[in-house]
Amino acid sequence: MPRVDSQTQNVEQTRSDGPGANPGPRRASTLRRDSATSYTFLAPFLVIFAVFLVFPVFYSLYLALHQVPADSFDIFGGLEFVAFRNFAKLFTDTKFWWSVLMTLYYAALIIPSGIAASLALALLLNNRLRFVAAYRSAFFMPYVLDMLVVGIVWTLIYSPHVGILTRIFESVGITAFTERGFLGMPASAMPSVVFANVLKGAGFGMILYLSAIQNISPSLYEAAEIDGASPWKRFTSITLPLVKPITLFMVIIGTIGALNAFAEVYAMTSGGPNVDVGGRALGATWVTGYYVFDTFYTQFKLGYAAAMSYVLLGLTLLISLVNRRFLRAEV
């Protein structure tokens, strides 16, 4: 996914040499002819975009504001208008607020650990060593594979009693996970989902960090070395500040990823295991993305799911707004 700030930059770039700057009579007719050609080339893309990406955003709002009968999937027209009833219900839905909390918890775990893992791999690879390319590929490879499959494999590894990781822990005397496995205990379920996901995704951040690190001028390090800076000092005062744009980017895509988290939860925990919160059973990995899916696919409450996805959109926009503020202030 491209970075948003880079995109605006590109738009501005094209604007400077764009049309309309000096449309003489001849330019104007060329522009008209070119426009016709251009939209012909764009037609297939724009038709799909309009029907399947633009229309749904508005249609989702329509659904969110209407009562969708539970037994019907033909939901064009004839629906009862209920205004903000779905949203009102959502704001008093403990399960929903819990899911937001779990999403934040998920983000709070995966963003720092993902950044740390990516940066560590990049630092290891930023050396003149043999087989660097092979290691780089090995670290990146899981990123292209299916989250569902990765999740299924991890359920096997995390299994109670017989899972390989459970047995490894047992062999060093840790039997806490034996009975219920890593995914069966509320305290370890979310960290275990995150761990599996970090190993899968670290290769992506690694490439970004690696290219940022390789862009740092060696003379900076040499100067610091002459001044007697320790390797740790060089890392914290040269490397870290200079890769900060990548770190901020990782925070943004990490947040968006957390708000969309679904496949990892579906494959590994289905939102469980349940914890008792004030007498209510709530899932320890019950993230919002999974709740939307569950509401739609298992409970067939389409209007409610649409309302929830709108709140998800609101949260995404809010967070990226905050992030952009932060980005502008810091860089």
Binding site: M1, P2, R3, V4, S6, Q7, Q9, N10, P19, L31, D34, S35, T37, F41, P44, F45, I48, F52, L53, F55, P56, V57, S60, F73, L121, L124, L129, F131, Y135, S137, A138, F139, F140, P142, Y143, V144, L145, D146, M147, L148, V149, V153, W154, L156, I157, L199, G203, I207, L208, S211, F249, I256, F262, Y266, A267, F293, L302, S309, L312, L313
Partner: protein, 275 residues
């Protein structure tokens, strides 16, 4: 320690670090493969490597549990979708890179803004549209909604902007039409990015599990991930078979990555790095 001693120690440390990291990162896939070769029901045997490796699990998931069919479906969906998504993005990328037309910059900004919208947003309304069109349980339901790939368009445009416009103008002076310029100049000069986008969209559709799950409910049309998810919930305990199914699901993408990793890595990180 003398200078060479330090260098050797440092190198050893780095190799050990890299190797440990590689083992940890790749372990799940190693475990998936060895479990798939264990005898059925022996998923949790104490041995690391199967003493009597068998292809029985693969035979059974492919024939008894329909994975051969799912595999064909996945190939059909991912190939057709990748072809059209790449073609549409190439055509659109061309005009955004090389043409001046009314509303260009506004439209481009609008397209890019759509990347901010969380994917979960689309699930319910897209399902409603597919249902209205009567496309439930069809290939086109799995393919068509994802053919407008904005990220792909962005990659295309970035790449095509580096192709000198003089080449296009020269061809036009020689009397070539728009489509001819596109076909005989832009496409040949953009082969690396076209290959990249084809691979990325193929990978996307191969792994597009959630959407494929939503629009199919007949076994005949299951793709590999959907078949795997159904198998997972129906046969929770058949781990060796599940791992064989997982291998079948992962193998094509792992293979493509092995042969074309440069395209994958560059394509996936380009959007974040350039600009």
């Amino acid at each position: 320690m003398d200078r060479t001693g330090v260098v050797v120690a440092r190198r050893t440390f780095l190799y050990v670090g890299l190797t440990v990291a590689a083992i940890v990162v790749l372990f799940p896939f190693f475990w998936m493969v060895v479990t798939a070769f264990k005898e059925p029901g022996q998923a949790f045997s104490q041995e690391i490597l199967p003493s009597k490796p068998t292809l029985e699990n693969f035979r059974r998931v492919l024939s008894d549990y329909g994975f051969a069919r799912y595999f064909v479906n996945s190939v059909i969906v991912a190939t057709i979708a990748a072809l059209f998504a790449t073609l549409f993005a190439t055509m659109a990328g061309y005009v955004f890179a090389k043409k001046q037309f009314i509303g260009r910059d506004k439209l481009f900004g609008f397209l890019l803004a759509s990347l901010m919208i969380p994917g979960m947003m689309y699930v319910v309304p897209q399902f409603a549209i597919i249902n209205k069109l009567g496309w439930m349980n069809t290939y086109q339901a799995m393919i068509v909604p994802h053919l407008a790939n904005v990220f792909g368009l962005f990659l295309m445009r970035q790449y095509m902007m580096t192709i000198p416009s003089e080449l296009l103008e020269a061809a036009k002076i020689d009397g070539a039409g728009e489509w001819q310029v596109f076909r005989t100049i832009m496409i040949p000069l953009s082969i690396p990015i076209i290959a990249t986008l084809f691979l990325l969209t193929f990978q996307f559709h191969w792994n597009n599990f959630l959407w494929q799950l939503i629009v199919t409910n007949v076994e005949r049309l299951y793709t590999v991930p959907v078949g795997l998810a159904m198998f997972k919930s129906a046969h929770e305990e058949l781990y060796t078979l599940k791992m064989a199914g997982s291998c079948i699901s992962v193998l094509p993408i792992a293979g493509l990555f092995f042969f074309a990793q440069r395209y994958f890595i560059e394509g996936m990180t380009m959007g974040a790095l350039k600009g």
